[in-house]
């Protein structure tokens, strides 16, 4: 009886597995990028190089080299510390393995700077189904960080991070594709920035306040749900809408939405995006604490403040070598410009010297420029 049941179940599974056609590996390509972030006294720039190549018919290997060269005199730095320069170098190596309709991925990433090392191992599996109209993907990654201090060689703290993701990409019509992603990330360890401080009212200080080191909980779990849809317009253009909802165990809730319009013209492709992000603050964030050690946990990181962020993005891509050259099938060059405007609703600008607790709220504007060449072969 059991054998008959097993045969019935096996027949049902086989019937399912026979539908879909074969999946595909990502295209062979190389991207060479220069990136620049500039705003609030911070400049971060550097190169990024990505190379992806198939090995045989079922394996694709990818590697990325990325550098951030940081020069910082941000509001946090000028009000509580000294300007500094820093360099972060990141390497990653990954592999995609295709078997039938299933793609398995593995990735290793290492990020090194003078006072922060991060290592991440990622694994994923995706399955094409229903005639390749549906792709279901699962992902897991494990991260291991070591936090140091540049002024204290004996200071060393650990973090671990685990990420669980599930995604669904669905073709709805011949003009519409959508995707849904859910991701949970858990952190455990030393999660605050070792250099940052919180401000508390101090009548004994002539300016009316003093600083003490911030102190975060040593665990955090975040949940994010992202939805996006891209639609092909009748005059050969595309429009994309995107939304992400987010919550975490620190009390932050956020909503992020964006709209993108894509218009090709001859060998050019132009993109225009508007993005808005709104978030509540962490439960333990305060711009001014009533006294020293006023609460168990305390933060004055502006990223944990309630805030609204608006971004306008413009991107232009020019395609060349469209007939191919040597082993290269085609190439493109892209220039992208993002303008970020962030208004903080509780984080105040202490540089004004106004009455304590009534300083103007801080706002930030930043420019992000990317210039990159892409080659397919």
């Amino acid at each position: 009886m059991k054998q008959r049941l097993l045969r019935l179940c096996a027949a049902a599974l086989l019937a399912h597995s026979g539908w879909a056609s074969a999946g595909v590996l990502p295209d062979d390509r190389t991207d060479v990028m220069y990136h620049l972030y500039e705003g609030d006294g911070v400049q971060i720039d550097g190169p990024s190089l990505l190379v992806r190549k198939k090995v045989g018919k079922s394996v694709s290997v990818v590697s990325n080299y990325y550098v951030d060269m940081v020069s910082s005199a941000s509001i946090d730095v000028v009000t509580t510390a000294s300007p500094y320069t820093e360099e972060r170098t990141q390497w990653s190596l990954g592999m995609d393995y295709l078997r039938g309709n299933t793609t398995m991925t593995a990735n290793y990433t290492s990020s090194v700077e003078s006072d922060f090392d991060a290592t991440t191992y990622s694994f994923g599996v995706s399955q094409d189904m229903f005639g390749d109209l549906t792709t279901l993907s699962l992902s897991y990654s494990y991260g291991d960080d070591v936090v140091g201090r540049s002024d204290d060689p004996d200071f060393s703290r650990d973090n671990t991070r685990q990420q669980y993701g599930v995604g669904l990409t669905q073709i709805i019509t011949r003009n519409l594709i959508t995707s849904l992603n859910f991701e949970t990330i858990t952190d455990e360890g030393f999660l605050n920035n070792p250099y940052r401080s919180v401000r508390y009212a101090d009548p004994n200080n002539p300016v009316g306040y003093s600083f003490e080191p911030e102190l975060y909980p040593n665990t955090r779990t975040t949940n994010a749900l992202g939805i996006r849809a891209r639609y092909f317009l009748p005059w050969r253009a595309a429009i994309q809408g995107e939304y992400r909802g987010f919550t975490d165990t620190w009390g932050i809730t956020s909503h992020t939405g964006s709209m993108t319009y894509v218009q090709p013209w001859k060998d050019w492709t132009f993109e225009l995006t508007y993005r808005v992000h709104e978030q509540t603050g962490a439960d333990f964030f305060q711009d001014l604490f009533s006294r020293a050690e006023a609460t168990n946990f305390r933060a004055r990181d502006k990223e944990l403040s309630p805030l609204t962020s608006n971004t306008v993005k413009m991107m232009a891509t020019y395609e060349f070598l469209t007939e191919g050259w040597s082993f290269i099938d085609r190439g493109s060059v892209t220039l992208s410009y993002d303008h970020l405007m962030i208004d903080y609703e509780e984080f105040r600008d202490l540089r004004s010297g106004a009455v304590v607790g009534e300083e103007p709220l801080f706002s930030l504007e930043a420019n992000v420029i990317q210039l990159f060449f892409s080659f397919w072969y």
Binding site: M1, L8, A11, A12, A15, H16, S21, D31, I44, L50, Y66, V70, S72, D76, E86, R88, T109, S111, E113, F116, T120, S122, F130, D145, Q163, G165, I171, R174, N175, I177, F182, E183, N193, T222, N223, A224, R228, R230, F232, R236, A238, R244, G245, F246, I252, S254, V262, T269, H277, Q279, A282, E303, L307, T334, S336, L340, L364, V368, Q370, F372
Partner: protein
């Protein structure tokens, strides 16, 4: 005996449902109708290097993360 019967009926129903599904979930967008979806302007992530970089920028400047792809490790966030 009763459990075996339930399992047998269940497995038969699952097989029947799957065969029915085979018929009803035939791809409603045929391969020859996917020319627009194959146009590069319809790629959800046409520039992976650029996308990863921007996620990193947003992660450093905002309190939210995840749900839209993965960003690299490290901080670089002052």
């Amino acid at each position: 005996m009763r459990i075996q019967r339930i399992l047998k009926v269940g497995a038969t129903l699952a097989l029947a449902a799957s065969m029915t599904a085979c018929g009803s979930i035939e791809p409603w967008v045929k391969p020859y109708e996917r020319d627009r979806l194959a146009d590069p302007i319809m790629f959800l992530d046409a520039h992976p290097v650029s996308t990863a970089y921007l996620y990193h920028v947003y992660e450093a400047r905002e309190g939210a993360r995840g749900g839209e792809g993965t960003a690299g490790g490290g901080c670089g966030c002052n």
